[in-house]
């Protein structure tokens, strides 16, 4: 008897608690996209009544809000950019857009929660960096071959089958990359002013060995400045970066193949003679004092150190326009010394892609939006550069600069323009090469393709081995 009474009270309390919480939830503002689809459709009519879509061909489309989730930091002027995008999309797709930016450290947890919570996501940024194959294995994104066929012809013509094939997993396409630099060459980027001041010639530097006299000269003439270094705390070590130009690291460094070897033999990078040679050179530099004594423990970013006159050069990966990009960051004129050919591997392509999440309520419209992002310069420029007159001003046809009272610090819209779409359609910032995008395109085409181009390593069947090797790597490499 007593037990039963207890149970009744228990459940009453439970109901009370739940219902009060429910009330709290009801009084709060409703957020359309967190609700299940049924209510979504119920809400649709109130969004339509302003204007009718202009184009007859699109008029049969129901109004729809497209939710785009990308990597990056939330921007102050997002509402303004969204509003301008909406004007454009209303006309073309009878849709509106909602952008969500998730920062890098939080990406995996937040997107997993959102998809588990069945939140509406139409376009989802996807990267090999967070495990493209595991996103696919978890079923978070859908295959898009048919949709691409139907609504994405502009994407196919911009990217080409070659690039798209590199993004396929088991012959199915789940994501399309953004157009940007899809290859990289590696070497060292240096302060031009120091080289010029002391008349140090770098035109003959082609390998790490050739660099030694240059570093020696810097060390002698600028005793306060450390000649070179790598990226503290990063797995992109000095030798690692150079190795990336010679070997395809196959996602994780565990086994690598020589890019110029067609026989695709997987070898252990750390046993190769090349790696030993590079290590010896770097060791030699360290002993001679060309590298900071605390290089192994320092946490200060390399480019911050260059800005603070502490460091002269850093090992880095290159793309067209890189010198200008780092000039802006460090405030010093920079010059790059490339030590490898540009190479294209699967991961240089799959590091920035866009896919359609399984929680999309209208996959066709999502593909139409993605297609538009490869076709419509207005949309691309709105996302990449912001609103004309607010975030940028035109200098000439395709060159832009900041308006008078705005700079990189105060601008309300700084986007990671390489994350999505066809960036070759966007304007070029003043100071960069006006032909930046043509050069990037040529750079991509001239790159040497790894024989494993298109291969993505699926670590699922060898999980325990991977974990064991990772521990060894953490112990000795980074």
């Amino acid at each position: 008897m007593r037990r039963r009474k207890n149970l009744i009270i228990f459940s009453l309390v439970l109901i009370m608690v739940l219902s009060t919480l429910q009330l709290v939830g009801c009084s709060s503002e409703k957020d359309a996209d967190t609700k299940p689809d049924t209510t979504d459709q119920a809400k649709v009519p109130d969004q339509t009544d302003d204007t009718k879509p202009d184009e007859d061909t699109q008029s049969e489309l129901e109004p729809y809000e497209l939710h785009v989730v990308l990597s990056g930091n939330d921007q102050k002027d997002k509402p303004l950019v969204e509003e301008k995008m909406n004007e454009l999309l209303k006309e073309k797709l009878n849709a509106s857009i909602k952008l969500t930016f998730i920062n890098a450290s939080n990406w995996l947890q937040q997107t997993n929660l959102m998809i588990a919570g069945d939140e509406k996501i139409d376009l989802l940024w996807t990267s090999s960096f967070y495990g493209y194959s595991s996103v696919v294995a978890r079923g978070q994104v859908i295959p898009i071959d048919d949709l691409l066929e139907k609504h994405g012809q502009d994407i196919v013509s911009v990217l080409g089958d070659d690039v798209l094939d590199a993004c396929k997993i088991e012959n199915k396409l789940y994501a399309v990359p953004s157009t940007r630099d899809m290859a990289a060459d590696f070497g060292v980027i240096m302060r031009k002013d120091i080289l010029e001041k002391h008349g140090i010639d770098i035109s003959n530097v082609k390998t790490m060995e050739d660099l030694t006299p240059v570093l020696q000269a810097i060390k002698e003439k600028e005793p306060d400045i450390i000649p070179t270094g790598g990226h503290p705390g990063s797995s992109n070590t000095m030798v690692g970066l150079i190795a990336k130009g010679t070997f395809d690291i196959l996602d994780d460094w565990f086994g690598v193949i020589r890019i110029k070897d067609d026989d695709m033999k997987v070898v252990n990078l750390y046993e190769t003679p090349e790696y030993e040679e590079w290590l010896n050179i770097v060791r030699d530099w360290y002993v001679k004092g060309y590298i900071s004594k605390d290089a192994a423990t320092s946490t200060e970013g390399a480019f911050d150190q260059i800005r603070a006159d502490r460091l002269c050069s850093v090992f880095y990966s290159f793309k067209p326009g890189i010198e200008r990009q780092e000039e802006i960051r460090t405030g010093k004129p920079m010059v790059k010394i490339s030590m490898t050919d540009p190479v294209a591997t699967t991961s240089t392509v799959t590091v920035m892609m866009t896919s359609i999440a399984k929680t999309s309520r209208d996959t066709e419209r999502a593909m139409m939006l993605l297609n538009l992002w490869f076709k419509d310069p207005n949309l691309v420029n709105l996302f990449d550069n912001g609103v004309e007159g607010v975030h940028y001003e035109k200098v000439s046809d395709n060159i832009i600069k900041y308006p008078d009272n705005v700079d990189a610090q105060s601008s309300g819209w700084i986007s990671n323009n390489y994350t999505i779409g066809n960036n070759f359609l966007s304007y070029v910032w003043e100071g960069y090469d006006p032909d930046l995008w043509q050069k990037t395109d040529e750079f991509n085409k001239s790159a040497i393709k790894s024989p494993a181009y298109g291969f993505s390593f699926n670590s699922e069947p060898v999980k325990t081995q991977v974990a064991a090797v990772t521990n060894v790597m953490l112990e000795y490499i980074s």
Partner: protein, 295 residues
């Protein structure tokens, strides 16, 4: 002779505690000094208690970015004040009945509270309940309610306080004088319970002030970032990006504030809560007793 023997340990003890005090204070001084050090000096020479070059750049930067930073600050202040008072009210209203011996089913209700200390739903179910059932995603209530508003441990702390320090006879006499239960609770029990209220209030204020987890899970809109959430995002991003294999050419770090700015953010994040401590201190010892017999 005997006096000397007594004095020696006294000095040792004093020195010992002075060292501990220094160990507590120096990091804060260093933090403040780093925030007023010139950015390039930090990179060249590291942190120092006596910076070579002083600069107010970091605080000027905060002032020019007042939209985002003061906004975050405001959010933090609001959730701390509202959250602390709301949770004190709700928790005491739960703790008081279960402290009363004449309350039916108080054992099972106490167990119901206690049970939540042992078990919780886990992250994904919690997220689902708050976002899908209550629509709290990107809502300021998401910073107030989940995991913070009612904490079982504090409820039990309050229950013990009510049960042991408020004599039954006071409640009984008030009852005889015709006071209603509400009147007894608000006019008699609460005024007698300042120690526990101050203690739990301080804990809750610190919890609300320092919370970044709810912000990280439920908030993607930068308008609702709290100051700790903002700081946490910046620091995690730096850590994450520096250890990542992202090809260096994708510059995810361009939006990240510089070192001295981060320090300045930490300073303005920590100072208010530091100032709040002394006001609550005198209630501390009295309030912090969950079971033992008190004098």
């Amino acid at each position: 002779m005997t006096i000397k023997r007594r004095k020696n340990p006294q000095i040792l003890l004093n020195v010992f505690f002075m060292l501990i005090v220094c160990a507590c204070i120096i990091p804060f001084v260093l933090l403040f000094m780093a925030s007023i050090t010139d950015e390039n000096t930090i990179i060249k020479y590291g942190y120092s208690l006596f910076p070579k070059k002083v600069s107010s750049y970091a605080y000027e930067y905060l002032a020019t970015n007042k939209d985002s930073i003061f906004r975050a600050y405001g959010i933090t202040v609001i959730i701390t004040i509202v959250g602390t008072f709301a949770s004190l009210l709700i928790m005491s209203m739960l703790a008081y009945p279960i402290s009363r011996k004449d309350m039916p089913f108080r054992k099972s209700m106490t167990f119901f509270v206690f049970f939540t200390m042992l078990m919780n739903g886990g992250l994904v179910p919690t997220y689902l309940v708050y976002t899908r059932l209550f629509n709290l995603k990107n809502n300021i209530l998401a910073l107030l309610i989940p995991m913070l508003l009612v904490r079982a441990f504090y409820v039990l702390l309050m229950r013990t306080f009510f049960a042991t320090t408020i004599p039954d006879s006071i409640i009984e006499s008030a009852n005889i004088d015709g006071a209603s239960e509400w009147l007894i609770f608000f006019k008699i029990v609460l005024p007698l319970s300042y120690p526990v209220m101050a203690t739990v209030g301080l804990f809750q204020a610190v919890n609300y002030w320092n919370d970044w987890f709810n912000g990280m899970i439920f908030i993607t809109d930068s308008k609702l970032y709290s100051i700790q959430n903002l700081l946490n995002r910046i620091l995690l991003d730096i850590q994450f990006l520096s250890t990542s294999q992202f090809s260096g050419t994708y510059d995810f770090t361009s939006n990240i504030p510089k070192e001295s700015v981060r320090m300045a953010l930490a300073v303005i994040g920590v100072v208010p809560i530091l100032l709040a401590y002394p006001f609550f201190q005198k209630y501390f010892v009295k309030g912090l007793t969950i079971g033992a017999v008190k004098g």
